[in-house]
Amino acid sequence: MDVAHHDILLVGGGGAGLRAAIAVAEANPRLSIAVISKVYPMRSHTVSAEGGAAGVIRPDDSLDEHAHDTISGGDWLCDQDAVEAFVREAPQELLQLEHWGCPWSREPDGHIAVRAFGGMKKMRTWFAADKTGFHMLHTLFQTTLKYAAIQRYDEWFVTRLLVDDGRVQGVVALELMSGRVQAIAAKAVILCTGGCGRVFPFTTNANIKNGDGMALAYRVGAPLKDMEFVQYHPTGLPFTGILITEAARAEGGYLLNKDGYRYLQDYNLGSPQPRPVLRSMELGPRDRLSQAFVKEVEKGRTIQTPYGDVVHLDLRHLGERLINTKLPFVRELCLKYQNIDPVRELIPVRPVVHYMMGGVHTDMHGVTPLRGLYAAGEVACVSINGANRLGSNSLPELLVFGARAGRHAAEYAASCPPAAGRILAQAADEKRRLDEHFLRKTGGRERVATLREEMQATIEASAGIYRHGSTLAQAAGKIAELKERSADLRLDDSSATFNTELVAALELGFMLDVAEAIVACAAHRTESRGAHQRTDFPERDDARFLAHSLVYQSADGAPRVDYLPVVITRWPPGERVYGQSTPGHRAAGQSAHG
């Protein structure tokens, strides 16, 4: 077995991974850095983010306000010290990206332009037309090409973390091109593999978002945090799950039910105004909008289509000129993938899974409890997003925590001994496992696609927008069954060359672990908060649950859930209220109706 040696390994080449790699290269140019990605880095899912990235730059705005919006939007489950650091560093990171060439949209005088975004009370969202993630990723990728210290392993799939002597010492990875399995040793490993949207059937996430890093960490004993908090984006195209950006609502779009009625006014989100009002109606927080959809389905007021229930997003009143300047991508997406023209027609939308608030438990520097293991980006849970992420916070999150993890890992690696030879034995074991269970195996009755679809149906029904203890218990049993059945897979593809069926089988294994963690955390949290809504426990319970769920994989493979208190600094928990025009802080009781 071959071993390659590096100082720092980035698993994943998206926004967080590339930013971390640059941070390491700048902190210590003598370190050997490797970025391992199962796809070419410019294919990473960062590329599809549309709306924007939040960072305080206007004089009428303040860091405290950004922090408060984030914390209250997260239903007070955010670690406030981390949020304070995040809002402080976000504008600097976005500015650094501008210096690296990111084509941010501008004011006529040449300064950075910002726009409104759902959940933010002031305009602070930087944007690059409506392809912010695309431009950020390509800017980062092209900038990494400058650094000779950054080597890339393009289309290598990490199957396992190597742990010895209580610390992570590298990975085992499969080169897709040739099928060879190789140990790659390192002093520090930073997981930047993104979220796990593909665990669910309707998702904006790309095919590659399978929770790889979460499962990798989970399997070597690192805890996952807040896994029950799964964010639905209220407006995705049915069938494809393609996201219709929040910006469409920020520019003035309306959400209508089958009667053409702006139904959000029935759900404590303010009253309908002709122009969008920050934090009210269609610009309310995402989880509230998704919940309103489910209620509309129950009332029978949604529109039936062959791909499920939908409501309509109406942009017609905005006019062709505005749509072509501010929302060209929205129009292009609707035309190209659903054959609908937003200028003249209503867009069918439904809530789709978009972001995973939960992930590998880290501190403010991306450090996990397992020495040598870091995580940053959507794969990690710091937590700055708490129980519900605000739109335009995840792109700066990649930059801020990618950079922090990179810098911390660089310091750690400089003083760390090299990897031990014992990891080679583990790597050889892994190669044997891949051979025996997948490539050389004969027989087997289960198909990857079947198990995957069953998992997706189970999790949507049990851990979707609304949850209940009984369905969660059933789901836990079903997922355990699926895990057993996945040991009996039959692969058609036994080739060593670019075997994507093998990759799909490995990803299925990761997704089943992640699904199990989600269901376990959801079952244990007997309250409703942010994106986690229990019909059997509809109230928020700060006394018992102002804490993060931590889930560990125990020796027999079953999940074990524990709790970690949230860090509160300056903002004591309040009521999440929307629809007011006064800039409130945490408001005392607003009477709920409807």
């Binding site: 050997s32 099928g179 060879r180 190789q182």
Partner: protein, 138 residues
């Protein structure tokens, strides 16, 4: 990129490389048009040569000019010139249609529409032809 320390693999897949045929330009209509466009430069060269011969014939006197005109009237030369003329027109049209893209004109911070640039070219051609016609016939 592969790791810096050379590592030998036990297996490297054989990539399939398709040889590009010498007749690649027949595979697509646009490729054929492209090749013809490039070939039309020969027609341009021919017309330039013809013009030089004309100038020489004129400057050598009335007789040589008359001989030259006789030569121009022979069937071979007529046919050749007919072909050259069609290639020349083809050359001009493809050039005028491609020029706006190649020039990438910007005015006042915005891109000048390609159609406008092409139309300007055709207008110039029409004007020059009208002038020629007036000088020769009028």
């Amino acid at each position: 990129m592969p790791p810096e320390t050379p590592v030998y693999t036990s297996y490297h897949p054989r990539w399939y490389r398709q040889r590009v045929s010498t007749y690649w330009w027949l595979g697509r209509w646009s490729y054929l048009v492209f090749i013809l466009r490039e070939l039309s430069s020969l027609a341009v060269a021919w017309v330039v040569l013809l013009t030089l011969l004309l100038v020489r014939a004129v400057s050598a006197g009335t007789d040589s000019y008359a001989e030259f005109v006789q030569w121009l009237k022979t069937p071979v030369v007529l046919a050749l010139n007919a072909v050259a003329l069609s290639f020349l027109v083809f050359h001009t049209i493809t050039w005028f249609n491609a020029a706006p893209r190649a020039m990438g004109l910007r005015l006042g911070g915005r891109r000048v529409p390609e159609r406008l640039v092409a139309v300007a070219h055709y207008a110039g051609w029409a004007a020059a032809s009208a002038l020629m016609a007036w000088m020769v016939l009028g």
